[in-house]
């Protein structure tokens, strides 16, 4: 069933404080017992340019933005047209703001009301237009004043009582002004929420969620070099790690950050770094070292538009190729992808546990759409998985660091363990780690490194599977495209059509049997992804035998794939 929700965008030029208003609206919705998400978009200016806060609010958790916006609220309209492609309006949409909205919006929307927010703000002592906007928005969507008051209190409390009361005055003025406007208060306010929300709901971004997943998985050492849109993963970890007895080191570059974490891991500490495409490219050589030397590491790649510097502030799923194939030589490793903001916690945690268990590198493919979107979601319970590296039971003269075991996992000693000394090496080596160019040694270690991955039972976490058991059509997707695909599948099911959704969380190693099982009865597969060349589609062709008609729906960034895009393609085909 599709989720009832309200979508609202607030825009404003540099200095208008529109993002603050958006954040407070989201938080207030959370206080009121709702769920929701907010994505920000900004102009090309480094800072202080025009911006748009795009929200979707709902009484149930939401995974993707809608195809359209109910409300466009402008604090002002300067350069707002820049966001037109991201803010589709239609005959049911309402525009509110001072004077004439840009034609591109006005022509699309059904209704337009003029409301001069800056002017209203002036009527309040210390009033701010963005707080007025918050009041207008809260009123239109039907949020109780109490919820807004709580967040104003929290946000402005530090600035003193005057600031709080000026803020609330502005909010109230906005609410008052909104009475003249149609309301969209279709969502039931959860009256119990005020008491339970503190525990039951989180306000979190995907990047923060990755950080949390990392420490839950046991990560205690991080080395990093900032890059958009991954920086917030690191910024969250920087103060968190010292509290847990860990450390984050800001490195001189990505070559250093990835090798620093190899060093940390060699020392026995689960270690991680986060980056984006350009940084990942620089790390590939050393990720290969982690694979060959069997030193566990986790690298989070928060993907952005590519290639090259590309579009740092927008999302795309186009680093799949480099993550799967970007290592020189045959270097089997793990590639995983969170499906939702909340799932960033679990997938990162699981990746840490898997990397440590399998003594290899794990690349986690998050993206800008997950990472920099802030959402009200149910609290993510800790599943309790923690890194557990196999250490040698006994250490004697014969200890072989790269012993050929049945599982392919060789117990790994840690500096400080007497008798466990070995020399880790990226050269082809013997079971003891001695460099060797002999065919037998090379083959043994390559087989071992492959089989430890392919033999491992990854359980049902490999994918989320939704929809009908008796469907003939399936949507196959991965990572953040899950949100839109899931909504589209739900909509089709609501129409009585049978569809199945398979969203892969584990990309590598491939799971041919699991996929075959999950495709039972399916004769048509739509492959949905956000890339230009259909990277996921090609990967599926390379690794899986799919006994069905397969069609590729590959849409590059920077615009998010919308549920309706998937729905349309699906309806036309099935």
């Amino acid at each position: 069933m599709t989720v009832p929700s309200i979508s609202i965008t607030m825009t404003g030029s540099g200095g208008s404080g529109v993002m603050t208003a958006g954040n407070l609206l989201l938080e207030a919705a959370g206080r009121a017992g709702w769920f929701g998400m907010m994505t920000r978009s900004a102009g090309p200016q480094i800072r202080g340019g025009e911006a748009a806060a795009m929200l979707r609010l709902s009484s149930e958790p939401v995974l993707a933005h809608q195809d359209r916006y109910d409300i466009l609220l402008g604090i002002d309209w300067k350069n707002a047209d820049r966001f037109a492609a991201e803010i589709p309006l239609d005959a049911d949409s309402l525009i509110v703001g001072p004077g004439e909205a840009p034609a591109i919006f006005a022509e699309a929307a059904g209704q337009q009301f003029q409301l001069d927010l800056p002017k209203i703000a002036k009527s309040v002592s210390g009033g701010r237009p963005n707080m007025v906007a918050l009041g207008v928005a809260a009123a239109i969507v039907g949020l109780p004043e109490e919820a807004v008051a709580q967040v104003i209190d929290k946000a402005l409390g530090r600035k003193g009582a005057d600031a709080v009361s000026a803020g609330m005055e502005s909010v109230r003025a906005g609410m008052e002004a909104a009475k003249a406007l149609p309301s969209f208060n279709s969502l039931a306010v959860n009256t119990e929420a005020e008491t339970t929300s503190q525990e039951a709901r989180w306000n979190i971004s995907g990047n923060e969620a990755c950080g949390l997943g990392a420490v839950r998985g046991g990560v205690r050492f991080v080395a990093a070099y900032p890059i958009t849109p991954a920086t917030e993963v690191l910024e969250w970890l920087a103060p968190a790690l010292p509290k847990l007895g860990g450390a984050l080191v800001q490195a001189e570059d990505e070559l250093a950050s990835v090798t620093q974490i190899i060093g940390g891991s060699f020392g026995g500490t689960p270690s991680l770094t986060a980056t984006s495409g350009p940084g990942l490219a620089l790390m590939m050589e050393s990720i290969g070292l982690a694979v060959a030397s069997e030193t566990p590491i986790v690298v989070i790649d928060v993907m952005r538009g590519g290639p090259s510097t590309g579009i740092p502030t927008k999302s795309e799923q186009s680093d799949l190729n480099i993550a799967l194939y970007g290592l020189h030589g045959d270097a089997p490793h793990l590639v995983l992808a969170p499906l939702t903001i909340g799932d960033c916690v679990f997938t990162t945690q699981w990746s840490v546990v898997l990397a440590e268990k399998l003594q290899t590198a794990a690349i986690v493919l998050s993206d800008q759409a997950l990472g920099q979107t802030r959402a009200i979601i149910p609290r993510q319970q800790d599943v309790g998985m923690v890194a557990e590296r196999e250490v040698p039971a006994t250490l004697d003269e014969d200890y072989q660091r790269y012993a050929n075991t049945e599982s392919g996992i060789s117990p790994m000693s840690i500096p400080g363990q007497a008798g466990g000394q070995y020399c880790a090496d990226g050269l082809a080596h013997t079971p003891t780690g001695l460099p060797s160019s002999k065919a037998d040694d090379h083959h043994l270690q390559m087989d071992k490194r492959l089989h430890k991955l392919t033999n491992y039972e990854f359980s049902s976490h490999w994918a989320e599977i939704e929809g009908s058991d008796d469907a003939e059509v399936a949507v196959l997707t991965w990572g953040s495209s899950y949100g839109a695909a899931s909504e589209a599948v739900a909509a089709m099911q609501a129409e009585g059509k049978k569809v199945r959704l398979i969203a892969m969380r584990l990309l590598s190693p491939a799971q041919p049997e699991k996929l075959a099982d999950s495709l039972q009865g399916i004769s048509k597969v739509l492959v949905v992804e956000q890339s230009h060349s259909g990277q996921f589609y090609r990967y599926l062709r390379a690794q899986y035998d799919i006994d069905a008609q397969v069609r590729s729906m590959a849409v590059p960034g920077p615009l998010a794939i919308r549920p309706s895009d998937v729905l349309k393609t699906l309806s036309e085909w099935s």
Binding site: W202, E208, G245, A247, G263, G268, I414, G416, A424, D425
Partner: protein, 286 residues
Amino acid sequence: MIATTGTHLSEGGCQIMAAKDYKSGVKPVWCPGCGDYGVLLSLTKTLAELQLSPEQVSVISGIGCSSRIPAYLKTFGFHGVHGRALPLATGLKVSRPDQTVIVASGDGDGFSIGGNHFLHACRRNVNLTYIVMDNQLYGMTKGQASPTSAPDWEKGKLTPGGTGINPFHPLVVGLASGANFIARVSGTDANGAVPILKQAIEHPGFSLVHILSPCITYNRDQLEWKKQVRQAPVEATSDPAQAARRLMTDDNLNLGVLYKGNRKPYQPDLKAQVDSLEVLEEQFAV
């Protein structure tokens, strides 16, 4: 961060380690006569002097003839990729301050591809000992010029008429970027090197030891170094300005400790302040 695990060989307090006890027994791939044999010997002797248990020591290297050294030692070791020994060692030491971490490079590994990490390791001043076996060329790839090659060395295979470029001054740049201890030893004089290496390991912060280690295969002239080196005529200074003056006129042949700084090493405190993740999770509560 991690509990130090395992027992120490020296825990009984009675077992005395000899230099040979630090050898792994693996036969070096080096050419007969290579200076790196001497460096290996110096290292084992130094470790014996310090009576460090082999499992307390990690030797981290990059790629090059010189970077093969960890496998020949009985300590923990990591023979990583070319140019990245210092960050690997940094990650290890920062998260495992209980380990004694020695980093081994060649002039190519350390000053060409690894130059940026050199700068920042000096600056960061983590408690590492960095030994660079300088033979003024790339041995492993069969004789190309390195940053420390003389500009008129015409045998570098990619620089047929000589590099025409002033050589890199590792010690001057090291000092300028903040190294906390700077010394030079001769790779062919193990006994002379031991006391210096010992001081380098014991000195807090980032210690740089420049080792003249001749490559007898690609530049036999370096056999002359043995005769040309001399003890530095003056005592080590702890004044960077004075050290700078001396090093700028240094002819690469002065042995001994040349600078001993007293900057505070970089070492994050690894004591946990909270005992449950829930404290961190509170910030997300609506």
